[in-house]
Symmetry: C2
Subunit: 250 residues, 2 copies
Amino acid sequence: MGGPRFEPVRAVRAYERVVEQVEEAIESGSLSPGQRLPSERELMVQFSVSRSTVREALRVLQARGLVRSRPGDPNGAEVLPFTPAALHKSMTTLARVAELSLAELVQFRMVLDSSAILLATRLRGEEQLAEMDAAVARMREAVEAGHDAFGAADVAFHDAVARASGNKLIQVCTDVVRSIVLGLISEKIAAAPDRVALMRQSIRHHEDVVAAVRAGDGPLAARLSRKAMYDYYAGYVPADERSALRALLE
Amino acid sequence: MGGPRFEPVRAVRAYERVVEQVEEAIESGSLSPGQRLPSERELMVQFSVSRSTVREALRVLQARGLVRSRPGDPNGAEVLPFTPAALHKSMTTLARVAELSLAELVQFRMVLDSSAILLATRLRGEEQLAEMDAAVARMREAVEAGHDAFGAADVAFHDAVARASGNKLIQVCTDVVRSIVLGLISEKIAAAPDRVALMRQSIRHHEDVVAAVRAGDGPLAARLSRKAMYDYYAGYVPADERSALRALLE
DNA sequence: CTAGTGCACTGGTCGGACCAGTAGGCTACG
DNA sequence: CGTAGCCTACTGGTCCGACCAGTGCACTAG
């Protein structure tokens, strides 16, 4: 051991301490979503820093998705309910900077989605099953209604599954990664010449998954969901990267 | 359809446009990690905004982990290589604000880690296997050396597996969630009365996993890894939440 | 009682100022 | 000639004061 280990005194900037205090108040629950922060001029008195410092702190908090400020609002900044927006932003950055391939993203979805299905099978209640049925029904109707409606119904299905998994982290990550994937290829999906056939195939797959969930066969449902996602997305993944996806199909 | 659909003109703040431009330059690669941004005073000329605006933009970019500025640096802010720091931050916030339970976090790790093992089994090369062996060897040595060394070796093992999966997203998420979990319970682990027994059991489990990977049995390796994580962490999860973890054990 | 106006606030932006810190050139000393 | 140390010209961090365009509310005039 030997004497006390001194830490390098990191010069902590004023705005960081403001951020920390407000963050702490929000995360500990002393400030709930919907409540208002004092105005910037009030905050600069309370923290005894200048308005520039307060504003820089608010910018950081805003970038983290914790508060939002609106010009002209007679109240101060609003404390926001948690949204995965910040998570989404940093994952999108990751996708661009780390050059995540579409294959990696789809593979990740296959993993999360099939796990969610597996968990949902164990916890399934009538309500969740009904939601999945309803989403599949809307997918059927949407084959004619156009691609947007179909996509929305599909999202609703997977969202219902993710919620039914009982794991909020799976739910959020599923949501974030899905929207990144769709942001990359939604226009290609809409323009696919065989999109009607793909939609019908996708509906059958979803029906099979729901049937397996209803029957209580989790591993089967998980396998079917991976297959469904592979069949739906593999066409947009470069051929030489598809083997990584097939690795998850057994 | 009808006429052109007008979008509400969202009042875009000046600092946001600065953020967008710099972000674009970084993500598109025109600015590489290690390069320097112009100084704040130079930026305020180039963007023709005030220094406050430039600084607020830099705060946002810094919060997103894209740049870092240091007082006194004769150069401007430094463009950083991507780190999951921002992802980590927003996921930690998620964990606190959305009240993620330890069970959910561990469950997520079980899902990701076992999937990584499954993928690593398909792609395994001698180099990856050697890394895993080395990590297990270090775990063996660390039983005496204390908990810190053991934890580090354990992290190295799972990191090697995640890298071997060939999926950077799995790698990053594994890393982030693991550090959140450890942040929650690392002191409890260090204080566990039966920690030596737990370490020895964990080593056996890891050896079994590596053996299964070497044998090419991905599903077995995945199942073993879920079991290993369950046995290691279940003791810290409230009893009434453990069933959610057992759902992944078959 | 209501419609309209004005006021007192808000956040967004600007400009200027000072400070402590850094790096690199310059000077003076060995 | 080489080097140690100072000096200066920058940097980012912070503060101050000011102005603007919005917003909501109270008050007023009809």
